[in-house]
């Protein structure tokens, strides 16, 4: 059984200006111990997808349709208390900005022990022990001492390690990581990625790794789903997609990675901006920025399996391995 199966998820925000379809019919699944890279620009709906999985979408937003099956059980529409028991316990989340995720006025031990006690009926001493072990596991030196510190006494990288340690406290089946390395230095980013990869393999934890950084996904993920304007536009095994993208958007994303550029040539970019979700063009949402767009793009193409296990939502796909 897959750890997570998302089917046709629609999460919409009902604002005064109109309905924002932040996530519109997204489907994917993740097996045990596997890593899914959820890739897209800001505003493509990847973070909202992550929050939907944890049932943390705040009003005016809500999940309007679709299923999120966690180990076979549909968790859409579960009561708040049932969701709370899953959150931090079986499904954990790591946030983007480590400077903001820890409460500045509470000590690290308070914030870790409360997480243990929220789900397990054990003694404070045992909870402290487990917190200390978790800190040690993510590579924080002298965890006993560090437990007594406040968040501002840690560097950004160390804080993110603490957040990861908190996520690991209950050895969850699934971790949703929302750009957890974006705010960090490259060297720290590398360390954290290696650490997470090791832990996921050892503990059999599945990961949804949300990022806009393809180089991170290339090294970490098993599968990749590229999102654009609330929809998945391309999906498949990570190497297949990165080596031979079908969708012009994925193509452009890969082309935008500076290190792939030849020295002296102007950097490549995707022209234009992500369209406003309030006024999406009819048909393919990417057509206004696409060089291949024509009259056929006026109707929204389906996400079609163009080769085994490799899906794309495009009328004029690139020919596989030409990238």
């Amino acid at each position: 059984m897959n750890t997570l199966e998302v089917k046709n998820l629609c999460t919409h925000f009902f604002t005064r200006a109109g309905v924002v379809k932040a996530v519109d019919g997204v489907s994917f699944s993740i097996g045990r111990g596997k890593v899914l890279g959820l890739v897209g620009e800001s505003g493509s709906g990847k973070t909202v997808t992550g929050f939907s999985i944890l049932g943390l979408v705040d009003p005016p937003g809500r999940i309007v349709s679709g299923e999120i099956r966690f180990k076979g059980q549909n968790i859409v529409g579960l009561g708040e208390e049932e969701l709370r028991r899953l959150r931090g316990n079986r499904i954990a989340m790591i946030f983007q900005d480590p400077m903001m995720t820890l409460n500045p006025v509470l000590r690290v031990d308070t914030q870790m022990i409360e997480t243990v006690l929220a789900h397990d009926n054990c003694s404070r001493e045992e909870a402290r022990q487990r917190s200390r072990d978790a800190l040690g596991m993510v590579g924080i030196p002298s965890p006993d001492e560090r437990l007594k510190s406040y968040p501002h006494q840690f560097s950004g990288g160390m804080r993110q390690r603490v957040a990861i340690a908190i996520a690991l406290l209950h050895r969850p089946d699934l971790i949703v990581a929302d750009e957890p390395t974006t705010a960090l230095d490259v060297t720290i980013q590398g360390q954290i990625l290696a650490e997470v990869q090791k832990l996921a393999t050892n503990l059999g934890t599945s990961l949804v790794w949300i990022t806009h950084d393809l180089s991170v996904v290339a090294g970490l993920a098993d599968e990749i789903a590229v999102m654009y304007a609330g929809r998945v536009v391309e999906q498949g095994e990570v190497n297949t997609v990165l080596d031979g993208p079908y969708h012009p958007y994925t193509h452009g994303l890969i082309g935008s990675v500076p290190s792939r550029n030849k020295r002296g040539e102007p950097l490549r970019q995707i022209p234009g901006m992500t369209p406003s979700l309030l006024s999406l063009p009819a048909g393919c949402a990417f057509k206004t920025r696409c060089t291949r767009a024509d009259a056929a793009c006026e109707t929204m193409p389906d996400l079609a399996e163009l080769s085994p296990g490799h899906l794309a939502r495009c009328v004029h796909p690139h020919q596989g391995a030409e990238a």
Partner: protein
């Protein structure tokens, strides 16, 4: 910490000196107490003798020097009217004002915090909107009018609560307090409520703003993602963060209440310092006015210091250091 306290102490000394100069000059500009204190039909000789006895014949700088010299020995002068040491007069009245101020502070926290918390957590609810509208009333109604209305309703119409005086008192630490007896408590209730209305509104608005701001922070969302109960998120994660602005403002308010509860004390005939200072100003009893203002300056200095120390307990990022 020790260095910090030393530095604070020196700063406080400067503030005291500056204030004493201002107060002294200000009070002498207001008017000549001789006209009020000495009976009009006293002859010239009597007048001069009285003026000399009060030390009013000396030039201003000498009067100030005499005042400072005595003040350093703990003597802030004798009241012209009561012929008692001014400091003693003030200290006699202080417990009454203190218990009234703390009582009103207690009420405002007891009522303001829960209401503000509720209004912050459910900003769209009907009850929240009622609370916020009510807090505007609390801000804008003049306290003397509210005091009169309270007396009319609870003392005159319903006859539930007494409206004047301190009632029965009991002895604690060598002074008499009203809040220790049932009768005293009944007496303190109306003036304390009167004095707390403004502060309740203040606490409501501060708490609500703080809660709404804090609820949007990533660490609250992360706390939810950890699977904490809403109760723990509200009362540990949010609460500790909103206490910082609340403590600051209430600290300043406490000083203001002790110093300037004049109106309420007058309306309820509460024999506190506020009434004493008004009476003293009316008869230009200079030593009492000066001593009172100096006491108030001292009190503000102490309150600010306590607030700063409470900060370090609430916010670990604040460390009291000897930095300028």
């Amino acid at each position: 910490m020790a260095l910090y306290l030393l530095r604070r102490l020196m700063q406080s000394g400067f503030v005291l000196v500056a204030m004493s100069l201002l107060v002294f000059l200000g009070v002498y500009a207001v008017g000549d107490p001789v006209e009020i204190l000495i009976s009009p039909d006293a002859d010239q000789e009597e007048r001069e003798r009285a003026v000399r006895a009060l030390g009013l014949d000396l030039p201003l700088w000498q009067q100030y020097a005499v005042f400072v010299g005595r003040a350093l020995q703990g003597d802030l002068g004798r009241s012209f009217v009561f012929n008692e040491p001014a400091i003693q007069l003030i200290l006699q009245r202080m417990p009454a004002t203190l218990e009234l101020a703390f009582g009103s502070m207690f009420i405002s926290i007891l009522i303001g915090l829960p209401l503000g918390l509720y209004a912050g957590l459910k900003p769209e609810g009907r009850l929240s909107k009622t609370i916020m509208a009510g807090s505007i009333l609390g801000f804008s109604l003049p306290s003397f009018w509210v005091g009169l209305m309270l007396i009319m309703l609870f003392a005159v119409q319903l006859g539930w609560l007494p409206s004047t005086g301190r009632g029965e008192t009991a002895l604690l630490f060598g002074t008499r307090w009203s809040f220790l007896t049932a009768d005293g408590l009944a007496h303190i209730l109306l003036p304390a409520i009167n004095l707390s209305l403004f502060k309740i509104s203040l606490v409501i608005r501060l708490t609500r703003a703080g809660v709404r701001e804090t609820m949007l922070m990533d660490y609250v969302k992360f706390a939810r993602a950890k699977g904490l109960t809403p109760f723990r998120i509200t009362f540990v994660h949010v609460f500790k963060n909103i206490m910082i602005p609340v403590v600051t403002v209430l600290g300043l308010e406490l000083g203001g209440t002790i110093a300037f509860s004049v109106v309420t004390e007058s309306v309820f005939a509460w024999p506190g310092m506020g009434k004493l200072i008004i009476d003293s100003i009316n008869v230009l009893d200079r030593p009492v006015i000066v001593a009172y203002l100096m006491m108030i300056v001292l009190m503000f200095i102490i309150i600010n210091l306590v607030v700063d120390i409470v900060y370090t307990l609430l916010d670990p990022r604040v460390r009291l250091e000897g930095k300028a």
